[in-house]
Structures are given as structure tokens and as C-alpha cells.
């Protein structure tokens, strides 16, 4: 696709922007098995490969399980590796996701969020990436096309950082972000190349002078030590995410943190929500602020590792919090984001009241009025101090 820029801005869909970022990053290997709604990422990128615009070896595989397996093999061989998937594709990769993180391979995956079957559905929710939340991958969520594009460059730096060496998943909403055209600023090719730098693996399988083995067995005498090491690495990656987010801001004018807050400082009530629905919620926040209601928003960007201390500090003065999940963990207790936020707030002496609302599954629209309703409910909780319904579905 020809990219035409006007006044430094270019109109791109989320998928086209991710593919363009991949072109600028120019990974060594891209094993892929395209799936809706992330198909266009690989479609566009394969065009760049065919045109010779990148040096990437594109491997067309027979399933997503094979795609992730090829990512692991190529990464162990010392390549910078990227792929993209959605929904069932990520689910089929599941077994290999743990192997990628356990072997400490800095693979980059874009997950265009889509609901899981059954019933079969191609539209947005977060059940796919939430299903992979414990796989040891760092997860970055993106509200907009711009953020998804920016996140991809940062993901490379985070994954390959010597203190991290873990795979990173960049998530954006299927169709809502992946297929909607947004005006974004692109990074200059040379600056992008300089920002991601050259990948120098600390060890690799093609170094025949120093033979190594990846994927060996580890029994009770040391398996737990490897997992302990991995756990410390992902916990420590939070600092690296901040550092790289700051550096990105300094270079390109858009700084990223662990989460975004919107009119939260003096808020009595707040909604915590991931990805594109945060944009809708901000419109509701503005409307209610005009009516004098002190409402705000917190949108986590980094979900794995979960920045629990920082989120607790940001929400400690709020009276009532509504955590909106676009996925149900089928616990009978609320969504996955709710469980994390509620758990994070536990250590506060005076805790905000908190409710879980599941919204928008399978691409159901989440509208400004839905956010307004939740804020209304939170306001009643603030007044009465009582939570009547801890968890429920909205947008039904």
C-alpha cells in the first residue's frame, strides 16, 4: 500500500499501521498464519516482503501452533522475530507461548483482540489475550491506532532488553482499531531503525563454535529455579517499560507509562477499562464533568506484569471504582481485570468500593450511554456506601 503523508499525518487502519511498523522494524523472520481480524497485517507485510522493501524471511506455515513454533526456532537461532494473530489463532499457539517465555526468547506478537468460540464470532473482545495472560508474555494494550503503532517499536526494545529477555504481546481491538482509519504520525524510517537498533542475541543455535541446547528437560532439582528467574524478570520488566516509554516520548513526543489516567486526580468515581473502549469512556467523562460530577478514568497499558502498586496509588482517593472487562474469566466473580484491580486495592486501609461489569463481548457496541450508566451506579455507591450488585453483564 502506498503511504501518502499530509502535514506529517497519514490515515491508516490499525492493521496497516502495524504492518508499516513491522516494515520499519524489518525483522529477520516472520512466521505467520493469517486470521481475521489481523489478516491484513500479514497481507500488507507480505507485500513489503514481495517488493523487497524488507529483508524478512516470511514463513507461511500450516497453523498458528506451527507459526509460534517457527517463531521459537528462529528466535533461538538468533533472529529478530515477529508475528500477528487473533482469537483461535492465539488459542492454538497457547502451548508454544509458554515455551517462548520459558526459553526467554524476545519474540514480538501483535494480537488483534477477537472473541473466542463458541459460538463462533469474529468481532472484538479480550478473551483471547486474557487466556494468555499467565503465559509469561509481557502484554501491552493499545487504545488507538497511534498507540498500537508506537507500542510495536517499544515492544522490540522491551523484549530484547538484557534485563528482560521475554516475549511481548501488543494488543489492539479487532475491527474497532484494526479496521478503522485514524490519522496518525509515522516515525521517520531512519529514526525507527535507530530506535529499535540492531538485534544482537546473547547466544544462539547457529553459533557452531559455542554449541548450546534449547528446550532441555529440567526436573524437580531445578525447574522451580528457572521459573523463579522468569518471574523476577517479568516483575522487573515494569521498570524497563517505563524507561523505554520515556525514551520514546523524548524522541518522538509521545510518552507512554504503565497506564493512562484521564481526569482522575480529583475524581470521586472512576472506570478502569482497556483498549479502545477507553476512548468512548473519556467522552462520557467529559460530558459528566460538565454536569459537575467528579468522574475519571484509568486505562491500563501494561497488563502483564500488572502494575498493582502504581494502580493502587492512582485509585486510592476514589470512592467507587467500576472495572469494565471485555472478557469473562467464568469465575462467577467478575472479569480478569476486575480481579487484579480489586486484589491490588486490598492493601489500602480505606479501600474504594469496587464493582465488575462485563461489556461488549463478541463485538457488542459499548456506547457513551453505557459508561454514563456505570458512572450513575458508581455515584449511588459513593452516596450510600453500599454495593448492591458486585458483578454483572452490561450492554446486553
Amino acid at each position: 500500500m502506498a503511504i501518502t503523508m499530509t502535514k506529517g499525518q497519514v490515515g491508516l487502519t490499525g492493521n496497516a499501521a502495524i504492518a508499516y511498523a513491522m516494515k520499519q522494524i524489518n525483522p529477520d523472520v516472520c512466521p505467520a498464519y493469517p486470521i481475521t481480524p489481523s489478516t491484513a497485517i500479514i497481507e500488507d507485510f507480505s507485500g513489503y516482503v514481495a517488493d523487497g522493501a524488507v529483508d524478512t524471511e516470511l514463513i507461511t506455515v500450516e497453523s498458528e501452533h506451527s507459526a509460534m513454533s517457527a517463531c521459537i526456532g528462529a528466535s533461538a537461532a538468533g533472529a529478530r522475530v515477529m508475528t500477528a494473530t487473533s482469537s483461535q489463532g492465539l488459542a492454538l499457539m497457547w502451548e508454544m507461548l509458554y515455551i517462548a517465555s520459558g526459553m526467554r526468547l524476545p519474540i514480538i506478537l501483535t494480537d488483534v483482540n477477537r472473541a473466542l468460540s463458541a459460538p463462533i464470532n469474529i468481532h472484538c473482545d479480550h478473551s483471547d489475550s486474557m487466556g494468555a495472560r499467565d503465559s509469561g508474555w509481557i502484554q501491552l494494550y493499545s487504545e488507538t491506532v497511534q498507540e498500537a503503532y508506537d507500542n510495536l517499536f517499544q515492544a522490540v526494545r522491551i523484549a530484547e532488553h538484557r534485563k528482560v529477555l521475554l516475549p511481548v504481546m501488543v494488543c489492539l481491538d479487532g475491527f474497532i482499531t484494526s479496521h478503522a482509519i485514524e490519522n496518525i504520525s509515522l516515525i521517520d524510517d531512519a529514526e525507527a531503525k535507530q530506535f529499535v537498533g540492531e538485534y544482537i542475541p546473547r547466544q544462539h543455535l547457529l553459533d557452531t563454535d559455542n554449541p548450546i541446547t534449547y528446550g532441555a528437560m529440567s526436573l524437580p532439582e531445578n525447574y522451580i529455579e528457572f521459573k523463579h528467574e522468569q518471574s523476577r524478570a517479568i516483575a522487573g520488566s515494569k521498570e524497563v517499560v517505563l524507561e523505554i516509554g520515556k525514551e520514546f516520548g523524548k524522541k518522538f513526543g509521545r510518552e507512554y507509562g504503565l497506564f493512562e489516567t484521564y481526569r482522575l486526580d480529583d475524581a470521586d468515581t472512576a472506570i478502569v477499562i482497556l483498549n479502545s473502549a477507553a476512548g468512548t469512556t473519556k467522552v462520557a467523562v467529559d460530558a459528566l464533568r460538565k454536569q459537575g460530577m467528579k468522574v475519571g478514568l484509568l486505562r491500563p497499558r501494561l497488563f502483564r506484569p500488572f502494575p498493582f502498586k502504581e494502580i493502587t496509588a492512582a485509585l486510592k482517593n476514589v470512592k467507587a471504582v467500576g472495572v469494565l472487562d471485555r472478557a469473562d474469566s467464568m469465575s462467577g466473580f467478575g472479569g480478569p481485570l476486575f480481579s487484579e484491580v480489586r486484589s491490588a486495592l486490598y492493601d489500602l486501609e480505606a479501600r474504594p468500593k469496587i464493582i465488575s461489569r462485563i461489556y461488549g463481548l463478541g463485538g457488542r457496541d459499548y456506547k457513551v450511554k453505557d459508561a454514563v450508566e456505570v458512572f450513575g451506579e458508581l455515584d449511588r455507591i459513593r452516596e450510600t456506601g453500599k454495593v448492591e450488585t458486585l458483578t454483572k453483564y452490561i450492554t446486553l
Binding site: G102, R104, R162, K163, P211, T213, Y214, A216
Partner: protein
């Protein structure tokens, strides 16, 4: 976190050098042991080719016996030994 770990384990469970299988004794897994009849053996070395654990010891093209530290007792050597020769028999370790 520094690259040098307190527990000194290589990152990601990588084995940082080659040939480490030699240091791992798998002979204890054996239930059946191969027994060579030197009088029947023709030194064709098919057993040496087929042994998955490189546990057939040879010298100057002659079959000498088995590395019992690494032989798992799979019996492939006994099966592959040509029908006219049959110089290897598997016997119970317990006997």
C-alpha cells in the same frame, strides 16, 4: 536484575555447552542388558550404526562391547544384528 544469577542457572534453561549427554548416566534405566557372543560377531557394525545412545564401543573397525553407563537396554542392537549372525542377546538385568 543482573545477568549473573544467584542460582547460577543459565537463562531460559539453555544448556550452555555441547556433549553434555556424556555426563548423564542413563545405564540405570536398563531392564534388559545386551550380551555379545564374540564368536558369532562378524564386526559388521550395524549395531554401532543403529544404537541411539552411541553405546556400542568399537576400535579399529572391531566391535568390542557396550558402554553400560549409557546403554538403556532398548534392544535395537539385538534386533538389527543380522539374522544369520545373531550375536547379541538381551538378558534380564535381574538375572
Amino acid at each position: 536484575m543482573e545477568e549473573k544469577k544467584d542460582n547460577n542457572l543459565p537463562l531460559g534453561g539453555v544448556i550452555p555447552k555441547g556433549g553434555t549427554a556424556h555426563e548423564y548416566s542413563t545405564g540405570g534405566w536398563r531392564k534388559l542388558r545386551p550380551v555379545l557372543d564374540k564368536n558369532r560377531c562378524t564386526n559388521c557394525l550395524i549395531c554401532w550404526v543403529m544404537c541411539p545412545d552411541s553405546a556400542v564401543i568399537t576400535e579399529d573397525g572391531k566391535m568390542l562391547g557396550f558402554d553400560m553407563e549409557h546403554c538403556k537396554g532398548c534392544g535395537i542392537c539385538a534386533v538389527e544384528c543380522p539374522d544369520k549372525v545373531k550375536a547379541i542377546k538381551m538378558e534380564e538385568e535381574a538375572e
